[in-house]
């Protein structure tokens, strides 16, 4: 990240869930995600009929969402997603549950929670996000700043 971008970057502090550092483009939803009956575990596409992200894939995105819901097979579905090469790059979430924790562990991507601001409000789809699962720190370059960077 260059100095110019750093001025507009937002830092959130939380707790690392799965270690590792990665950066990528954010995909944000205010709705929880279901494993069984909620995703296509070969493509990473959200399939739940009434979900606001229906038809969009989290593959290679930094997935920002409230947490997991539904069947106890959540982790198995996300393990399948990983084996199919369709996993998100990282996970940022709010509500800790056993499904969510085990799911993050077997998806094997950096994950953070307990952030000092609600990431669903602060992060917008398309923002560039660096996730540090070791320290629990999330660094956001808003999409608007990214455009400015490109122009300057």
């Amino acid at each position: 990240m260059g100095g110019r971008a750093a001025l507009s970057n937002i830092i959130l502090k939380g707790r690392g869930v799965v270690p590792g550092i990665v950066e990528g483009e954010a995909l944000v939803t205010s709705q929880t995600i279901s494993g069984f009956g909620g995703i296509d575990n070969q493509t990473g596409e959200i399939t739940e009929v009434r979900h606001e992200l229906r038809g969009q894939s989290f593959k290679d995105k930094v997935l920002v969402f409230p947490g997991a819901k539904g069947s106890s097979g959540w982790a198995s579905h996300f393990q399948t997603v990983r084996l199919a090469g369709a996993a998100p790059k990282a996970m940022i979430f709010n509500i800790m549950t056993t499904k969510m924790a085990l799911g993050a562990v077997v998806t094997r991507v950096p994950a953070v929670t307990d952030l000092d601001q609600n990431p669903i409000d602060v992060i917008k789809t398309g923002d560039w996000v660096k996730v540090d699962g070791d320290s629990g720190i999330v660094e956001i370059t808003p999409a608007t700043a990214r455009r400015d960077q490109g122009n300057s």
Binding site: R15, T80, T98
Partner: protein, 428 residues
Amino acid sequence: MKLTDQEKAVLDGAEGEARAHAMDLIVRYGRALGAERLVDTNSVAGGVVGSLPGRRDVVPEDKRMDMNAVYSLLNLDSDVTLEIPPMKTKTYRLIEAMDPTLWEVQGVSSDTKALVDNVSDFCGKVGYQMCNTCTPYQVGHVPVFGEHCAWMESSAVIYINSLIGARTNVEGAQSTAAAALVGKIPYWGFHTPEHRRASHLIDVEYKVESMLEWGLLGYFIGEKVKEKVPALNGIDYVPDTDFLKHFGAAAASSGGIEMYHVAGVTPEAPSIEAAFSGRTCEEEIVFGRKELEEAYGWFSTGKDPDVDLIVFGCPHASLDQVKLVASLLDGKKLSLNTHLWMFTPNALRAIADRMGYTDIIRKAGGYLMTDSCVALSKVYPKGVKVAATDSCKQAHYLPAIHGFETWLGSTEQCVEAALTGKWAGGLR
């Protein structure tokens, strides 16, 4: 996270590679949760999923009969194949891909049968008790009040947490497998007393009296409180275990409820005050006739009255439920256009056989099946488009998983539909 010397030793390989990997998985899972320590467990209910549709396909084709490889990958999330030693805990197996005797009726291929037989051999060798049911508590696997458990299957978790006072979270295939190998699970969530206290008060003003009504009550509350802990007030009698089994299964399907209290009925709620134990009530919700009808209205996929399939036994039926269906079918014949499949644990079918129930259902044209279910095993008669069931949980999943139009009604209404081929049920 603090680990004991014994836990550290297992992690370092004192008990072999597989248990070291299992401990590592439990520790990483515990850290992810934010748990400060692990707790001993000797009661694990989990899936050996290598034969289940969807899961079996993840394993490379040449490795599907190698149970060490299958179990290492699917159940222990290991990149290397581990030699799986015997389970350390009492370990109960959940749903399998087929009925061991009626698999051809279920349309299961001989390839799948071979996988299932192979998984069964493995279960025997490593000590997974092959109750093969979503309801291990119906066949003698009942924990003690306060016992720390590691159970998967949301309808079983809510049952043992709420009705027995055992302590478990909804675990997954990997955490149960690891827990069974090391006898440990993170001390977090419903293992801790604070987490078990009620958060929402439900004023049950409508007198719920049947299995269907209890199911709808559960489905309504799940939709409203999501993953929180409701406490029911206003139940002035001791409900039947089958009512509560259906109530919990429904509450865990529409929401993520893992524990509830019924004041004066469940063991951690001698009173409504005891259920909350000082926790602030987040919301008070009234359940009357209007709410019962609202919840029934959420099951709206049934359109065509020509019913192809009746499904009973979600969660797996008790012997009383089998007896009821047998008595309603006794001496009668199903409509030629309609199938009736009822699912129960294998241990209960053994009794149903001796009591004549299995035979009565068979003579009427239906089947009493074990080990499996329509949703997870993905078994159903060819050409089904319209189903009917007496289970909110089943009616929740059938349209989503198989795309069946699904009617919901009482057991009696479902049997009537099986006999006439026409759905004429509804909320009374």
